[in-house]
Symmetry: C2
Subunit: 286 residues, 2 copies
Amino acid sequence: MATGRTHRPANRSRGIPEATVARLPLYLRALTALSERSVPTVSSEELATAAGVNSAKLRKDFSYLGSYGTRGVGYDVEYLVYQISRELGLTQDWPVVIVGIGNLGAALANYGGFASRGFRVASLIDADPEMAGKVVAGIEVQHSDGLEQVIEDNDVSIGVIATPAASAQPVCDRLVAAGITSILNFAPTVLSVPDGVDVRKVDLSIELQILAFHEQRKAGELSDEDAEELPQGAGEVTASPVAPPAASVTKRGSGSGKSPAGASGGTSGRNGEPGSDGDVPAVMPA
Amino acid sequence: MATGRTHRPANRSRGIPEATVARLPLYLRALTALSERSVPTVSSEELATAAGVNSAKLRKDFSYLGSYGTRGVGYDVEYLVYQISRELGLTQDWPVVIVGIGNLGAALANYGGFASRGFRVASLIDADPEMAGKVVAGIEVQHSDGLEQVIEDNDVSIGVIATPAASAQPVCDRLVAAGITSILNFAPTVLSVPDGVDVRKVDLSIELQILAFHEQRKAGELSDEDAEELPQGAGEVTASPVAPPAASVTKRGSGSGKSPAGASGGTSGRNGEPGSDGDVPAVMPA
DNA sequence: ATGTGTGAACATTTTCACAGCG
DNA sequence: CGCTGTGAAAATGTTCACACAT
């Protein structure tokens, strides 16, 4: 690791913790908002609140980047915006290709957050010949055939997959073969990629399922809910493909409002690593 | 397998770790696929591979649910599907409202993964009168005015926010006031909610930023990249609203393909907790 | 005074490695 | 013998609390 930098405020020697990296965008967002309001400085307390974390965590996070604050005062907003942007690599332009221009792909293409931070949609790709030529978010959709060419011409290293689950792996393979080393996957599938390629995934239904888990807890605090273990004679609960596993209770009997025991905060999730096969029931828009 | 199950095998007393909960949907997806292929049993190794995790983690995760496997054999697919579904609360029907029917909202409404697992779109809501009446994913979009009514009528407890950032908090407040206790937020904003309400967020641009961070690392292994600290005279890096922070280097000079040092795996992220205010540059589709 | 920066305590998660059930 | 289930170790992440720079 060309960690040439022998001099360094304090930390910042090597590796910033993943957990910290994952929060930097959050801080950046809050800081950008402050910057727009021309706020010159913020305390860790204020910024933490705006970013939705606690101040101790925020200070610890910043300590990994270096000592960018002023004791007794706080942090210089503009300066921090710059430092974090640089740390995240947003001071450079990142061309991105989006594959699969269905509702989701279109939403992504139109998403302001992309363009607003160093990301530039280099191309929109779709396998459907019908889509080719159509203009989405001001960009002409291209047919999959040109995928490799676009990646090479624009030196793209980040690809977004918004195709149906079944096409995800094939598309992924082509992206990787064409030189892409970072993939954001929206298809509900585990992508298998070679070493050196990063994959992050966003799975809408997984998030909902996690919410359902907590929701169920809130409801079942007293109600006792389901039986206990299993309804006996397992193995026959449901075998119908792509259909809801079991019964349909249409929510628990409780009213709506609050719930007894808190079970509040519990918000946090994690994305996995690459893997291998994986085909799933659900199908995405396309 | 109606395993003898001595009743509450071992763990499973209370709280399943959050990290485990977040992976259950992953296992469920892999299991559902196996179920569709009529595979009767799987070993932790096979299932782990299909889910994109390692077997030790998977076994540990399952141990929190109870002893649902058979030593020397593996796990009964159907049985596990049922157990996990039940644990996640998917054996019941969860009505969901989606607010903000732009590209993203439409993509969500059409998303097969929702319907396929206990989630039912009870209503699509949009603030734009023009949208009211239009049919998306077979459901008629309703104007925001009816929000509270819909939630009450269908006893909805989960809401999805896919509105522009500026509307997110107001919408959130209404959802909460109407009795919703779980929110999936796609708007790039920190939502502030009372205790007892869960918020999970999905931020497209944050994921990309994390990828950019790793991508930058891969490239900068030897190149030395940017200068060092700051370009001095901070405070003027950029102040333009909703515009790229700094320069535009259009990626680093490297070619496309692989990169020297690995910097492989590094895939994992985390979502934050609820917070307070927060308004941001980017704007979502709507 | 005030609020950062951080060592150290605490908590959670992951990985190891192996006893023991089928 | 093979594979689960799980204590115990290691690694990561979070929170505390306070010295100390401004």
